[in-house]
Amino acid sequence: MWAIDIFPFFQWVEATSLSNVIRESTWAFAVIESVHLLALAVIGGSVLVVDLRLLGMGLTRHTAHEIWRDAYRFFVGSLIVMLATGVLLFFSEPTKCYYSTPFWVKMSSLALALLFTFTVRRQVLKNDHVSPATGMIVALLSLTFWFGVGAGGRWIGFSG
């Protein structure tokens, strides 16, 4: 699958003391997972309210730019919590993740979502006015990438 064998990295992560602490604790995984879920609600709301506006729905009396600017710090804040808790969840079971297709779907979607959000989507939303066609394409791509992240994430728990 890979030109460079990355599996030793996953084995190394599994051997770290952090990985052991989370894996052997009764509560750690559950608590980290809960925080991950709480941030999901916030990141979901802050992405949706902007993407819906780009699709011409929701807060249509305000520009997408205005809503994006207001929602931005909640997006970034919840993203940081998501990434931090996500890394900890990964640390607790890295070799399981390595063999999990949903995990790779999630990571690929996440890479696309982040790249798109901080380049194209950001540039478009920096403008006061966004044309309906551009808005629709940007919103649909954004929603698709984030849906891949969410659905892939949920499905990691069902496999294995």
């Binding site: 809960s34 609600a41 949706l48 807060l59 207001d70 929602a71 949920r154 069902f158």
Partner: protein
């Protein structure tokens, strides 16, 4: 029929068994239930933060509620339907789960909070729609909603764990709170 009798009857229905044993049905329901968090709780969080004057301050409170209402109610409906079906798939264990019971209590409290808000301060929303600082009761409702829904998410997630299940040895308090059936534990 008692409540536990009803739950037992639910568990014995063929649909409950099929849902419980399905390869994709249950995981799909669970996924929809969790991802709808983004729509329903995500929008609620924005409304609550608006009530607390933290975000979208240039948008009048009434406008935010009215424009997001279809998403809020639509998301809530999906949450309820998938939630009821998830219970239907695993009725007995859920009925005896302290997390599930706690979640129901928090849901009732969240409902009461929304109901009180709409019956009182919301009726005069035109008076404080664009006020730099919302009335104390509106801020209270927003804060209470944030805390209650956070609790509902955490309790819901914890249902997955068997720490307090009746088939493990539990303290007298848990046996009481979970309504564990009498007999050898």
């Amino acid at each position: 029929m008692s409540l536990s009798g009803f739950v037992q009857w639910l568990a014995d229905t063929p649909w409950s068994v099929q849902l419980h044993e399905s390869l994709f049905g249950y995981p799909l329901l669970e996924s929809v239930h969790v991802l709808t968090l983004c729509i329903f709780v995500g929008m609620s969080v924005l409304l609550d933060l608006r009530l607390l004057n933290i975000t979208l301050r240039r948008v009048p409170v009434s406008e935010l509620f009215e424009r997001l209402a279809p998403w809020l109610f639509g998301g809530f409906a999906i949450m309820m339907v998938t939630g009821v079906l998830l219970f239907f798939a695993i009725p007995i264990r859920s009925y005896h789960s302290i997390w599930f019971r706690g979640k129901l209590i928090l849901l009732v409290l969240a409902g009461l909070n929304a109901w009180t808000f709409h019956g009182t301060i919301w009726k005069h929303v035109r008076e404080w729609d664009t006020a730099p600082i919302s009335p104390a009761r509106a801020r209270f409702a927003g804060a209470a909603s944030l805390i209650l829904w956070a609790g509902i998410i955490v309790f819901g997630r914890m249902i997955a764990y068997n720490w307090f299940d009746c088939d493990l040895h539990q303290s007298a308090f848990i046996v009481w709170a979970a309504g564990c059936p009498a007999g050898p534990q």
